[in-house]
Amino acid sequence: AQTVTQSQPEMSVQEAETVTLSCTYDTSESDYYLFWYKQPPSRQMILVIRQEAYKQQNATENRFSVNFQKAAKSFSLKISDSQLGDAAMYFCVNWEGAQKLVFGQGTRLTINP
């Protein structure tokens, strides 16, 4: 079975600083997608960023970027210039095929003012 591991249950960062959330995954697929989803407190889960495995270039979305290391099966999320609104649970997710997603355990990010 495919797995996604987030080894940091909780992290905190000062407002305006940079933080990196770690993720490793295991897959037998050669072509797949990876995602970071964000779940703010009492609000809906939303997509932050996606990475296609066949693309070598790391995805970026404004202050959010990833470091995709395919050989190492590592997919970390970097948040630059952290804002109070970034406080949330973050999930690393692998597309397993057959329309299914596999979720990591989540990392709760706290932003300190």
């Binding site: 996604v4 997608y33 609000r43 809906q44 889960m45 329309q99 299914k100 997603l101 979720f103």
Partner: protein, 114 residues
Amino acid sequence: DVKVTQSSRYLVKRTGEKVFLECVQDMDHENMFWYRQDPGLGLRLIYFSYDVKMKEKGDIPEGYSVSREKKERFSLILESASTNQTSMYLCASSLARGGTYEQYFGPGTRLTVT
């Protein structure tokens, strides 16, 4: 914008009751999913459906069933609720083709079984 709605945000039921959780999406997505979310475990897939009247078991289907009579609506049924089914339940939908496999989520239903 894709909109996925769930019938209740909070629900309290007694052990042994039959429980229905409803999910509706308005973007004509073929695929719909039910997950449960527990602390430290992330999201685990209960059932999914890729078409009307079609369903597939996910990773933890025991104690649950589903129904999809219309494309936009996907129901999760707890035939006889038990305390270990106390959890947050999330519904999601996605395109079957031409997309990037992104799933769109509802707000969740926090179910407590006493």
